[in-house]
């Protein structure tokens, strides 16, 4: 049975923070931030905002877009690295906030690939008949975890808060995108090159391992060069894999809707695939939203869908790369 994205929505906190507002604190120049990332501003949530509350707003919009009501949802997936609580996951909070039925709620922790993992799982649920209308929620409040000092300047300049939601259904509706394929891969060799070590059982929790003495282990860590080098190659390879096994070439794809990591990386991937960029085929929302990790691909996809530029028969390629490292690419068709 085929699975379709029949609705999408995105939501971001109101507070927009420009490069100029944070450059001094991060020990950087505002223009340097833009040149190295393509980011001019990002949204940061007010203190006390929960990640699930952003997701719930995005899901309301996605359900409205899909022409569905809250009670129509029969499965919730929630991808985030910045949950409301350590335990349980954030999907139960969305179930409660939106008054969904007592449906299964599953959190996914596949970092910046959460949208792809969510689509792969949702597609499998629909194909197996286990669910008919899956809500895929993708949200982050990363600002709460950022070290706004020069020591972490090149990391903290990148990240924003926001949410997106996709409704995956067994029914094809107007404007629906069929999920044709999702390819995913992982190499745990690079586990320390991107992520956050604590709290956890490997290093410790705040009770057993002092955050004051080991502040670097409680903060986001990124070996930028390793991320760029591996992402540039692995994303291109994943796209080629998913295209080849569907008998397609890059020229057969109209839209690339990538995880929004860094504008220079998106350009590198497009170059590696020989994907035509002149026709605005690579969708980027980086300039206004920054890197919203789990949420970013869904935000970009929702912006594209709501622009009414997708024509019947057009194909979309959805590449992503994240901590783990894990990476992959999805393929959809209008």
């Amino acid at each position: 049975m085929a699975a379709y994205i029949t609705g999408s929505g995105h939501y971001a906190p109101e507070q927009s923070i420009s490069n100029e507002e944070i450059a001094d604190r991060l020990g950087l120049e505002a223009e340097q931030i833009f040149k190295s990332s393509g980011i001019r501003r990002r949204r940061w949530a007010a203190k006390g905002t929960t990640t699930s509350s952003l997701a719930a707003e995005a899901l309301k919009l996605a359900l409205e877009d899909a022409g569905l009501k809250a009670e129509d949802v029969d499965y919730v997936l929630f991808g985030t690295m910045t949950p409301d609580r350590f335990i349980p996951g954030s999907s139960p909070a969305v179930q409660k906030t939106l008054g969904l039925r007592e449906v299964p709620c599953l959190d996914i922790r596949a970092t910046c690939c959460n949208a792809l993992y969510g689509l792969q799982v949702a597609r499998a649920l629909v194909a197996s008949g286990a669910a008919r209308r899956v809500a895929v929620c993708l949200a982050e409040i990363q600002s709460a975890f950022l070290d706004l000092s020069p020591a972490s300047g090149t990391i903290s300049m990148l990240f924003g808060d926001g949410a997106s939601a996709l409704v995956v259904s067994d029914e094809k509706t107007d404007g629906a995108l069929e999920i044709l394929d999702v390819h995913l891969a992982t190499d745990g060799t690079y586990v320390d090159d991107l992520g956050m070590r604590c709290p956890g059982t490997e290093f410790g929790t705040a009770r057993s391992y002092s955050p004051a003495e080991h502040a670097e282990d409680f903060a986001a860590r990124m070996v930028g060069q390793s991320v760029i080098l591996q992402a540039s190659r692995k994303i291109v390879a994943a796209c080629q894999t998913v295209l080849e096994r569907n008998g397609l070439q890059a020229a057969d794809v109209r839209w690339m809707v990538p995880h929004q990591a860094n504008a220079n990386l998106l350009a590198q991937v497009a170059r590696g695939l020989k994907f035509p960029t002149a026709e605005g085929g690579v969708i980027s929302v980086l300039e206004d939203y920054g890197n919203t990790s789990s949420a970013s691909m869904g935000i970009a996809l929702d912006v594209l869908r709501r622009s009414n530029r997708i024509r019947p028969g057009e194909r979309l390629l959805l590449p992503a790369f994240g901590a783990g490292f894990t990476w992959g690419a999805g393929l959809c068709a209008a």
């Binding site: 930028g224 080098l229 591996q230 540039s232 190659r233 590198q268």
Partner: protein, 80 residues
């Protein structure tokens, strides 16, 4: 073993585009402004096509391509 002309031409052109000197055998290509992380990805593509070697993802790290001498050593290693 000398690197193929296409490899050195690529690096010299990069250096010129970035306002840097053509690199000597022991010059650090990253410090000299000849390569950065993104340029290295493109360079590895050139290296693969000019030398016929395949660079596995695990070898894609700056240390293997820091200088012309290091690149020569790496190519020899891959050719076995």
């Amino acid at each position: 073993m000398a690197l193929p002309q296409g490899v050195t031409d690529y690096l010299n052109e990069n250096a010129q585009n970035n306002g840097a000197q053509s690199p000597g055998p022991a010059d650090d290509l990253f410090q000299a402004g000849v390569l950065d992380s993104f340029a290295l990805v493109d360079f590895i593509g050139v290296l693969e096509s000019e030398t016929g070697i395949k660079v596995p993802d695990a070898d894609v790290k700056a240390a293997n391509f820091q200088t012309l001498e290091a690149i020569e050593r790496y190519v020899e290693t891959r050719r076995g």
